[in-house]
Structure formats: structure tokens, C-alpha cells
Symmetry: C2
Subunit: 254 residues, 2 copies
């Protein structure tokens, strides 16, 4: 078992432009910092850097809200241009109240504002959307990291989501590659030899949350290395964070 | 800022009996393992060890289900004795369907089965309830740890909760002492100098999740040490995990 983990910010990853490779930039920054990345590590990357590289950035000044967005924006007292972007990214509205718009994105994530936000995005009215397919982004990033560094760590793309019932946000995995996202103990036994009933650990989310602890929100540290997590890293890219999405039929809260 | 965290399981904490002090046992185990605990550390303790020490353990064979429990158990196809215990621990039923009973506990946590479960509890039909007031438990544990070790780390009592929309469980804080549970960046600015809108990080939950990664579910490691988390540790006990509970008026999902 893993009895020790180390979580280290990767310093010196530069601002990312559309078309650049976050994997190559992270590998180079880790190299400059003397931080060797191995196949047994996990690299947790902020959604923001991936969205910027993929051009998933919009200027609110260029958004023309349609009639649905105008009605919704008036109803919940929110910027109609932002509402337009949120609706375009969503396949379902889960809650719309008091300036809060919780949706299910086309990618299947349920979160506030379709994950759109403005912090750490250059430009006065610029916002970043989520990557279109963050599992695919994670696979590409893993490939680029491997090509640049010679090693194939697990890769998680993380974003901060709020939660029902609890205050504050925690980072969760919205994409991953080479990670077993859920460690399922069902069928195994506890130390009394009794079956572990409902125990399936959302490892990818816990790794994302752990990485967030070394990330200073004002400095925008976009990459974090987790050492000692090799038990969850696979050579193959695996099912991705899609495996963390609860099917609608098994969900009681949408 | 914290640029590095280390997460280490504390080995050799013995099985806990009613009336024993988890704080003293953890301090002794850390001492035997040569793991010095400092005021800048956080000790994350599993709910199970605290519940056992507080005698919050029940034998299903001794539970007599009342009429409400019998009706509910038949409706959702669940053991009526377990349903009796869940209802006694709850002030509200949030969802009751398909063997799933999500409730709000008297302590204010919304979770499945009022947090009652059987894994890693000795005895064939024995289950553990949540501590009655896990913030008070955390304060006591911190005091006992301090008396035994001479240091006052932050203390978190963690349990595994499921989530709406996402599969798998993550550990969250149900009690804490000496920890700032939420790191609120609102009012501060990002590196572009723009206000960080909705960024309040549920640090206590992220620390609990991080600690869970070094905990083997079958071996029942009840205590984990996090080094490098001193920025969130205070000399005073602080507001506890109560600060993580979203007020009903601000919650859209109950």
C-alpha cells in the first residue's frame, strides 16, 4: 500500500498561448526546477492552462446574448453575455436561482456556470470555458509530456467545483489519463474479514483535491506533481474521468 | 505559500475501546514510529476510531425497529434495524429511494445512512454511528494529543461521503480543531490583479481527501499526518467543521 505521498508544485510554467503544448511546457519547467517526473508519479494540471492552450477562451464583449439568455439573465440577475456562454455549453439546467446557474455540460459535468470563469485569464472581459473533452486533453497532455520527458506519469486535469450542502470548493478531476479514477474495494474485506460494502474511493478526485493544497490561487500554479501515487497509475490511458460521472438513472439530485 | 506537502500514515495505532483516548494512542504510535508531530502539522483521524472511543457503536441484534422504520424499510428495501438507527440519528430525510437513504443528521451533515456503517468495526452485526459532535471530539483529541506529545497540531476528523452526480466517495471533514476550514480568497486578486470571484477553498475537506490516499481501507489506518500545512493551523481551536455546513437558505439541493 501507499503509506506516503509527496505533493510538490512545479514552479515556472509560463503563461500558455493558444496552440502551445502544456505537456511540453510542464516537462521543461520540471526539468529546469530539477524535478524529475517518473512513470509512478501523477501530474495534476489546472483546467485553465489546458483551456487556454485549446483556445477555449471567450471575450464577453464579443458575445451577443440570444433571447433565452436574456430571459434567464433577467430572472436570476446575471450578466446575459455570461448566461449566453453558459447555455451554449450546457445540455440541461439543474438549478437556476439567486445568480446561481447549475448546469450539466455537454461533456456531462454538473457544476456552476458550466465551469466558465474569469480568474487567472488575461484580459478584462475574458473568460475560460472547460475543455470540450478533458479526457482527450489529458491523453494528449500525457503524450506530449512523455515525448518531452521520456516518462509517462498519470495525468489529471482538475477544476474547482462547489458542492451541494457544503461550503467552499474542492478540486475534482474533469479529465485524466493513465489513472485508475476509482479504487473499488467492494468485494474485498476489512481487517475483520467482513465485506467492505459501499467503499469505492474516487481516487482521481482525491488526488485533484490534494494537489490544490499546494496551489496558490493568486499565482496561478498550473501544475502539481504527486509522488507515491504509482499504485493508481497504468501504462494504458484507461477510462478517464468519464468513469466518475454518475449515470442519470442512478442519480437522485438532477 | 505552501509549495510542498507530505502525507504519511501513522502506523501502529491499536484497536480502540470505549473510553480510551485516540489522541493519546496516536501520540504514542507516532512516537514509537519515530514520527515527530509538530504544531505546523495536521493530524487527520478517521471517524471510526473516534466513534469507538466514544461508545457510538450499536449492535443491530439489540435494535427494535419502530413503526416508522418498518414502513420506510419496506418502502426502500433496507434492513429495518439499520433504518431505525438512521432515523434516530436524523432530523430530516433528504432522499429515500432504491435502498438509499440520504438524511440530514442532528449534527447537520447531509449524507447516506446518517454516516452509519459497519466496515472496520469488530462484531458481526455491529455498526458505528458518527460522533455526536465531531468538532467537540476534535477539540478533545487535540487536547489529548497535546498533553501526550507536547505539540498542538491541527486535527481533522474525516469520514467518507458519497456525492451527488459523481461516483465514488471522498473523505471530508466532519470535525476539526485548530484548522481554518475554509481559505477564502474572495477580496484578494489573481495574478492579473482581478478580483477572485467565487474562490473559497474547502481546505479541511481537501486535507481529509489527501489523507485518505494513504489509508488502506482493509487495514484500517486510523491516523494520517500531513506536513507542510502549517499555513492553515491556528493555536486556537477555531470554528470547526461547522463552518463547512451550507445554511439551508443558501442550499439548492435539500
Amino acid at each position: 500500500m501507499t503509506a506516503r505521498l509527496e505533493i510538490v508544485a512545479v514552479p515556472g510554467v509560463p503563461e500558455v498561448a493558444k496552440g502551445s503544448s502544456p505537456g511540453a511546457l510542464i516537462a521543461a519547467a520540471a526539468d529546469r526546477a530539477g524535478t524529475a517526473i517518473t512513470d509512478a508519479d501523477v501530474v495534476v494540471v489546472s483546467q485553465k492552462i489546458v483551456s487556454k492552450a485549446e483556445g477555449r477562451v471567450r471575450n464577453l464583449g464579443e458575445v451577443e446574448p440570444g433571447p433565452d439568455a436574456l430571459v434567464m439573465a433577467a430572472r436570476i440577475d446575471k450578466d446575459p453575455r455570461l448566461v449566453e456562454l453558459i447555455l451554449a455549453e450546457s445540455r440541461r439546467i439543474v438549478r437556476a436561482e439567486r445568480r446561481v446557474l447549475v448546469v450539466e455540460t455537454h461533456g456531462g459535468w454538473i457544476c456552476a456556470n458550466a465551469g466558465i470563469d474569469a480568474s487567472n485569464v488575461p484580459g478584462d472581459e475574458t473568460v475560460a470555458l472547460l475543455p470540450e473533452d478533458a479526457d482527450e486533453s489529458a491523453r494528449q497532455l500525457r503524450g506530449d509530456l512523455g515525448a518531452a520527458s521520456g516518462s509517462r506519469p498519470g495525468v489529471i486535469i482538475a477544476d474547482s467545483f462547489g458542492r451541494p450542502w457544503r461550503l467552499g470548493q474542492t478540486d475534482v478531476a474533469i479529465g485524466c489519463a493513465g489513472i485508475r479514477p476509482i479504487d473499488d474495494w467492494r468485494g474485498r474485506t476489512d481487517r475483520e474479514g467482513r465485506p467492505l460494502g459501499a467503499t469505492a474511493v474516487a481516487v482521481a478526485d482525491e488526488l485533484a483535491a490534494a494537489a490544490d493544497l499546494v496551489r496558490d490561487k493568486s499565482s496561478g500554479v498550473p501544475a502539481v506533481l504527486i509522488r507515491g501515487a504509482g499504485r493508481w497509475v497504468d501504462a494504458g490511458d484507461g477510462p478517464g474521468a468519464a468513469a466518475l460521472r454518475r449515470a442519470e438513472a442512478e442519480d437522485l439530485f438532477r
